[in-house]
Amino acid sequence: MASGVKPRVKVPKTAAAGDEITIKTLISHKMESGQRKDGDGNLIPRSIINRFVVDFNGQNVIDVTLEPAISTNPYFQFDATVPESGEFTFTWYDDDGDVYETTKKIAVS
């Protein structure tokens, strides 16, 4: 992992079958845009999270392509339908090749 990058997700622990739930996600990442210059006047190269994918039991919920205009510590909030118990997987892809992943289980009554 690139240093200091930490994902954080908020998913309800339980839901009724077919419920629509709201999911919040955050990942600590500098999102170096490629527009900034260093002390010597050289452009600092772009280095961002460029993609964010959320699946549930193998089916896709959302697939985001991020550009440098997404703020530092990228935040996304969206909804998901929960048809059955299972696991959400959250995957962030970094320009530098690193991949960050976290999962969250949900129990459906």
């Binding site: 930490k6 954080r8 908020k10 919040k24 955050l26 600590s28 530092t72 510590n73």
Partner: protein, 284 residues
């Protein structure tokens, strides 16, 4: 005009909103975090404040969207840094092989600490800020390297310590052995610095509620620190902010951890006595 009131009542009094509120003052919104923690963002000014009747948290001066960031611990980007500090809290470091948790157990046990800092340390014979105390523990109890006073590690840890005191009233002591330091801080607060010859009071006491360019001036309270600033998307500590403010008057600014800023922090904290410990907050 102020009337005399007992010091104890300040912690519990929330001043009623005046129906004839001054235009461009703090807005009338309420701050409840996670639907649970009721923050006092408005309180009767402490006795020692001669020129203010009511003190307001900086939260009240921010736009609705910025305020919303702080109302849920998940929306608050500062909290991911608190989580990082929690991991550090539990991790052993230094020659003694201890973690913060080794002596202090759960970080929750630190509830109440933030609310009374900066404070006089009898053994050390000086006023201590939270940062100084953290480094004292690190060096003398853990045998670990002290952290950079305004660096990320320190900011994160102070944010964690602040989180566990949220909702408690700020209550720093200004009498007794701390008095001299407090007086020094008060002097600095009212001194004009720099090419622009501005004192803290010029903006934060005389002009809170007004606009400076497109910024809505607050009272400059620090009950919300460390603050996650949208401007630099990171946690900012009190001394880092003081340094920036003095620099913005186009003066040679004081150093974080300096006697001047320790004194100023004690004084400014006391201006917010009665407001809730609110940090880590989200500000511009």
């Amino acid at each position: 005009m102020k009337r005399a009131r007992t010091y104890a009542s300040i912690a519990t009094v929330v001043a009623a909103m005046s129906a004839t509120a001054v235009v461009a003052d703090a807005d009338g919104d309420q701050l409840v975090v996670n639907g649970e923690i009721k923050m006092v963002t408005e309180a009767a000014a402490a006795d020692h404040l001669e020129n203010l009747d009511t003190v307001y948290s900086g939260w009240r001066f921010r736009a609705d969207e910025t305020q919303a960031f702080q109302m849920d611990d998940f929306d608050n980007p500062a909290m991911i840094f608190v989580e990082k500090a929690q991991e550090v809290w539990d991790t052993a470091e230094g020659s003694e092989g201890k973690a913060c948790a080794s002596c202090h157990d759960d970080s929750e046990s630190m509830k109440g600490v933030r609310a009374v800092y900066p404070k006089w340390n009898e053994t050390a014979g000086e006023v201590r800020t939270l940062e100084m105390q953290v480094n004292d523990c690190r060096e003398n109890q853990m045998g670990a390297e002290p952290w950079n006073y305004t660096g990320g590690d320190m900011a994160n840890m102070v944010a964690l310590l602040t989180t566990v005191s949220r909702g408690l009233p700020v209550s720093v002591a200004i009498d007794g052995p701390a008095r001299e330091t407090w007086e020094m801080g008060k002097d600095i607060y009212y001194t004009r610095y720099g090419q622009l010859e501005l004192s803290c009071a010029n903006c934060h006491e005389d002009n809170y509620g007004n606009m400076i360019r497109a910024d809505h001036l607050s009272q400059g309270q620090i009950n919300g620190f460390p603050a996650y600033r949208l401007k630099n998307t990171k946690l900012n500590t009190v001394h880092a902010r003081f340094k920036g403010c003095v620099r913005d008057t186009r003066a040679h600014t004081f150093k974080p951890g300096s006697a001047e800023f320790i004194a100023l922090e004690l004084y400014v904290a006391s201006r917010g006595n009665g407001l809730s410990v609110e940090g880590p907050s989200v500000r511009n």
